[in-house]
């Protein structure tokens, strides 16, 4: 199988990730439930993973990291936990449905939102962002990189603007965590939502939310935490307040191994490799006559390219690649209709190609050759 859908979920994972999942599942024990050796081992797994994540994102205190099932749950926790009727939110016209659907639902509950327009290539209109901050604006919610256009958004600048206006900044790092450096302090991020199964190399069903100290969120889920068991009310301390119910321990152990792999390789090296693959892919696609979404400079993008070929439906190419060449890509709207509207592809969708860390330049060339063969059929 040729796998070019790493923006959906990364594959393969580093060997250490498979091993960590296997080992943890065999060890047994439930974190925080008792002080027996197995339970303690499980608690240590969570502790270690929290520390790894904190260190990757420049988070000073690991207790501010909460584990969730994915970035969608983390975004829901941040949005529903923070916002109350009368509040106003600013988001971009590139947001994923993981943000848009909660915002639409919250609209029905008295939380207003406005979308800051982005250009066809994805540039965020910072002046419009500033103009649209109102006294009721509580939060700016922004994707770090579009999962359709691939462009990287100026989080640090937005962080500064948010600070200046006393507004919180929530970042959806689904497409950037593990691929480009994130430092919550330097970038002024108050809430950072990440998913474990993409750039962080963890298993599906892992993710989390960083909550800056002092920000009070209402939990989405209430229940047993293993702590303060005599108390009928939800405990208030981090991270327990947001971690009711058994965590995905094997998954989180795998995520920890994934993050350690990244730290060991070095983010810089990972990014360098990604940029090298992207330069080849972008150039090759343009040579084939593709209409590429998003910026044309690799350094302004993450490792995905969505594109269309004249005379072809994106879905047709996707199916041909899959059936005839065992090559996995993704066509359609990628759960982000707003981003496709911004790019002008709401009706056609696009074919998204996303190489990963384990690809070689030759493998990207091979994919381009296959695409060339398909194109020559018409």
């Amino acid at each position: 199988m040729r796998y070019f859908d790493n923006a959906a979920t990364s594959w393969p994972k580093p060997e250490e990730v498979y091993e960590a999942v296997n080992r943890t599942l065999r060890q047994g024990g439930n974190a925080g439930r008792g002080v027996n050796a197995a339970a303690l081992g499980a608690s240590r797994t969570l502790y270690s993973a929290r520390r790894s994540i904190a260190s990757l994102f420049g988070i000073p205190d690991a207790q501010q990291v909460v584990f969730t099932q994915n970035v969608t749950e983390a975004l829901n926790l941040a949005l529903y936990g923070l916002l109350s009727p009368g509040d106003h939110v600013l988001a971009s016209s590139l947001e994923h449905n993981a943000v848009m659907r909660p915002l639409e639902d919250l609209k029905g509950r008295g939380v207003a939102y406005d979308l800051i327009p982005c250009s066809m290539r994805g540039e965020l209109d910072l002046q419009s962002l500033i103009r649209n901050i109102k006294p009721e604006t509580r939060l700016i919610c922004l994707t770090h990189a579009s999962n359709v256009l691939g462009n990287i958004l100026p989080i640090q600048e937005v962080g500064r603007i948010a600070r200046e206006h006393g507004v919180f900044l929530l970042v959806d790092a689904a497409q950037t965590a593990g691929l480009i450096p994130i430092d919550v302090q330097r970038m002024g991020i108050d809430l950072l939502a990440f998913t474990g199964h993409k750039g962080l190399f963890g298993p599906q069903g892992t993710g989390g939310l960083f909550v800056r100290e002092g920000i009070r969120l209402r939990p989405l889920i209430h229940g047993g935490t293993g702590s303060h068991s005599a108390l009928l009310q939800q405990p208030e301390n981090m991270p327990d307040i947001f971690e009711s119910g058994t965590r995905n321990l094997p998954g989180i152990a795998g995520l920890d191994a994934g993050v350690r792999f990244i730290t060991h390789q070095g983010l810089e090296r990972i990014r360098e490799h990604e940029l090298r693959l992207m330069a080849i892919l972008l150039e090759g696609l343009l040579d084939l006559g593709a209409e590429v979404l998003g910026p044309l400079k690799p350094e302004e993008r993450v490792g995905l390219v969505a594109c269309n070929f004249t005379g072809w439906e994106a879905g047709e190419i996707c199916i041909l690649l899959d059936r005839e060449y065992q090559t996995i890509t993704r066509a359609g709207l990628h759960c982000a209709p707003l981003a496709h509207r911004t790019a002008g592809t709401i009706n056609s969708g696009a074919l998204r190609i996303s190489p990963g860390f384990f690809h070689t330049p030759d493998q990207v060339e091979e994919l381009l050759k296959i695409l060339g063969q398909i194109m020559s059929r018409r």
């Binding site: 974190a31 925080g32 008792g34 002080v35 303690l40 608690s43 240590r44 969570l46 502790y47 929290r50 205190d61 690991a62 207790q63 935490t225 293993g226 702590s227 303060h228 068991s229 005599a230 405990p235 301390n237 981090m238 991270p239 327990d240």
Partner: protein, 79 residues
């Protein structure tokens, strides 16, 4: 010799304290918090009373939250 049980709001803090005290080569024992004390995450650290204020200060400096300290009566941990 009197002993004190340091109680933490979450296991995360108990393990952070364990890591720190280990690195500083303090003597301590990780142990369950007796249910009748009913506070914290259930995992505590038993230390000698003599050095308890010193240790609490160190934990504080490292922002490791302590919920409370509980003086251990003789044999209480086996109750």
């Amino acid at each position: 010799m009197s002993e004190v049980l340091v109680i933490f709001p979450s296991i995360h803090h108990a393990l952070a304290a364990e890591e720190l005290l280990q690195s500083l080569e303090y003597e301590f024992v990780l142990m369950p918090v007796p249910p009748h004390v009913a506070e914290g995450c259930g995992l505590g650290i038993k230390i000698r009373e003599q050095i308890s204020s010193e240790i609490i200060t160190i934990l504080c400096q490292k922002a490791i939250q302590v919920e409370k300290t509980h003086p251990l009566a003789k044999g209480e941990e086996r109750k």
